[in-house]
């Protein structure tokens, strides 16, 4: 048997001599720093979830009906009559939420260890593009079950484009293909969700990894192993503090994968709606353009950005500022490599100002999520009593959070470009070398 495999291997290598070098470049001879910590699991986990979404998505399309009259029924058909349909659907819906959990942690890792700094700007930009496409992908996927939240969520989000002066109204109709989210909207969102955006996503992921493997991975110390001493057990010309990605990080990631899947399985089998956070109660009611849900809010992973739209007031007769603010919040993340001119990468050696600012930034992000999920409507009376003006307190709190969010980028620019940051000395090599 082993003979057969090696014969096949030889046969392929004879005809495609370029394949093995590619495999070696990206796996067995890709030397990654040996000091990756827990934050470095989320890249491979994101890839895992992407594969899960594609595979479960394929099976869902086999029974899903992308029409306004049939979509809702077909989802219930999948949940009840399709063999294992409930499992496939819960894997897809849980995967969607966990995708964002993993991506947010992956992005946060990039920020704390300065992984976007030179020479990895391109890796960061491609990653941010992935995030952007993923948001579009998730939004359109959310519309497909055609529940009442799907309908009203689609209406609100598409209406955001309506705030653009002059062309806004026509643009909204053009996007929806109707005056309201309708059959035409559902058809095109289905097409975009199952083929167009996944193709873009896959291409971007390939480019993201290719760009990473050109420059090499960063690490928790933020030192460049490529500039350190040379020579390891496998290759005298390669970094001394690097180890082959395969098998070292493949077996290590396997541990992360196991734990991640155990958590995902716990949710899928015991708490698939996650108390209405992953699958919302109002989406168990079919789309109805005459009945507005008590509160229209996006799924949890969009709520921070949605809160920015809500908190920025209209001015000069247009509400476009909130929408600009929301897109600006994402554009600024794109620009991180140029906003942050820090001399060191890792938070381990950065100045106190950076640590404080980043903590506030994270708190502001969670604060905005509280507003976007409408949790503030319950929390404010709890803390300030039932008779207070909830909207006034929410606006004050929310606007402070918006200011902190944007203030982080302003501060970081000033802090690093004007040389205010007092950094600690960075070691020559990763701290765990022998």
């Amino acid at each position: 048997m082993a003979n057969v495999f090696s014969n096949i291997g030889e046969w392929v290598t004879d005809r495609a001599p370029g394949l093995m070098p590619v495999y070696r470049k990206h796996m067995t001879e890709y030397y990654a720093p040996k000091n990756f910590n827990i934050w470095y699991y989320f890249g491979s986990l994101a890839l895992l979830v992407l594969v899960n979404q594609i595979v479960t998505g394929i099976f869902l399309t086999m029974n899903y009906d992308p029409s306004a009259s049939g979509a809702f029924d077909s989802v219930q058909y999948i949940m009840r009559d399709v063999e294992w349909g409930w499992l496939i659907r819960y894997m897809h819906t849980t995967g969607a939420s966990l995708f964002f959990v993993v991506i947010y942690l992956h992005m946060f890792r990039g920020i704390i260890y300065g992984s976007y700094q030179k020479p990895r700007e391109l890796v960061w930009l491609l990653g941010m593009l992935i995030f952007l496409v993923l948001m579009a992908e998730a939004f359109m996927g959310y519309v497909l079950p055609w529940g009442n939240m799907s309908f009203w969520g689609a209406k609100v989000i598409v209406s955001l484009f309506g705030t653009i002066p002059v062309i806004g109204k026509d643009l909204v109709e053009w996007i929806m293909g109707d005056f309201l989210p309708a059959d035409a909207t559902l058809n095109r969102f289905f097409a975009l969700h199952v083929i167009a955006l996944p193709l873009v996503l896959l291409l971007l992921v390939v480019l993201h990894l290719a760009a990473l493997h050109e420059v090499g991975s960063n690490n928790p110390d933020g030192v460049d192993v490529k500039h350190g001493p040379k020579g390891n057990r496998w290759d005298p010309t390669k970094p001394a503090d690097g180890i082959p990605f395969h098998p070292y990080y493949t077996v290590k990631d396997l541990v992360g994968v196991g734990l991640f899947l155990a958590i995902a399985a716990f949710i899928i089998f015991f708490q698939p709606t996650f108390g209405g956070w992953f699958l919302e109660h109002d989406n168990s009611i079919p789309a109805n353009n005459l009945v507005t849900p008590a509160q229209i809010k996006p799924v949890w992973y969009f709520t921070a950005f949605y809160a920015i739209v809500r908190m920025i007031p209209s001015a000069l007769g247009t509400a476009v500022w909130g929408v600009l603010g929301m897109f600006g919040a994402i554009v600024l993340l794109f620009l991180m490599p140029w906003i942050d001119a820090g001399k060191v990468r890792s938070i381990r050696y950065r100045g106190t100002g950076f640590k404080v600012a980043l903590t506030l930034f994270v708190l502001a992000f969670f604060g905005l999520m509280l507003i976007g999920t409408d949790s503030t409507a319950e929390l404010i009376p709890m803390f300030f009593g039932a008779n207070v003006d909830v909207t006034a307190i929410e606006n004050l709190f929310g606007r402070v959070m918006v200011l902190i969010y944007f203030g982080f980028f302003v501060f970081l620019w000033l802090y690093t470009h004007l040389g205010w940051e007092k950094t600690k000395p960075v070691p020559e090599r990763v701290t765990t070398h022998d």
Partner: protein, 247 residues
């Protein structure tokens, strides 16, 4: 290293428990339904009440008779003789006989399909709703409900629960009087405790109907999670073995 994994594990499950606590507190205004999907006897009693009192108006269009028989451990004869009064086939979904147009005329609003009622509103809500009907001469149908004010639904379970009337709280001058609680004017065929259980059984049945897969996923779930934790442990041992020479 292993300490780190343990703490991560603890953190993850701590978060999970926290989330479960949040889930449990979701509707603090309503008392807990206290139903249990694993109580098959309760599901059967709930089905019995549903098919005797509710299906006249409400359909379960996503639920097939055959599936109910399978999941509740009933035979085809049980279901066809005791639950199915519409002449539908065993493999058909549960569709009420009331024509939608007539229903619209009778009640002003067609009775909703209840297939996903518990998914949409929650078990606690359904349980509270079934407990909160009262006599209201001002309502066109003679009944009202404190959980869903001005509900268009007459109370079909009155002969079980009896007839409730509102007890008004003393109102401040200028305010409309508010209902403080409901009290039983005429007792029904069931005692209040028995009726609570009946309402719980119907709620339980409707929770099952809104997601029949819930019965399966819980029984598979524990094995899947245990398998994955075992896999994680083996993967950890493998990783340790490979990493022995990395310092």
């Amino acid at each position: 290293m292993i300490k780190r994994y343990i703490s991560l594990f603890a953190l993850a499950f701590g978060l999970m428990l926290g989330a479960a606590a949040v889930i449990a507190q979701e509707s603090p205004a309503l008392p807990a339904a206290g139903n249990n999907l694993r109580d098959v006897a309760s599901l059967r009693r709930g089905a019995h009440i549903f098919f005797n009192y509710c299906v006249g108006c409400h359909s379960l269009k996503y639920m097939r008779y055959e599936r109910i028989a399978d999941d509740l451990g009933l035979t085809e004869d049980d279901v066809m003789n005791n639950l199915n009064f519409t002449g539908a086939k065993f493999g058909d979904p549960v569709i009420s006989h009331m024509p939608a147009d007539d229903a619209q005329k009778f009640f002003g609003k067609a009775p909703p399909d209840l297939s996903l009622e518990v998914s949409a509103k929650g078990a606690d809500w359904v349980f509270a709703y079934l407990n909160s009907f009262y006599l209201d001469p001002k309502s066109p149908i003679g009944w009202n409900n404190t959980v869903l004010p001005n509900a268009a639904m007459p109370f079909p379970l009155w002969e079980l629960q009896g007839v409730q009337v509102p007890v008004m709280a003393p109102a401040k001058p200028g305010d409309d009087p508010q209902i403080e609680k409901l009290s039983l004017l005429h007792p029904g065929t069931l005692t209040p405790e028995q009726y609570q259980q009946a309402a719980r059984d119907v709620t339980n049945f409707l929770e099952y109907v809104s997601e029949p897969a819930a019965l399966q996923r819980r029984s598979y779930g524990i094995w899947v999670v245990l398998f994955l934790l075992g896999f994680t442990f083996l993967a950890y041992l493998l990783k340790k073995e490979y990493w022995k020479d990395v310092h």
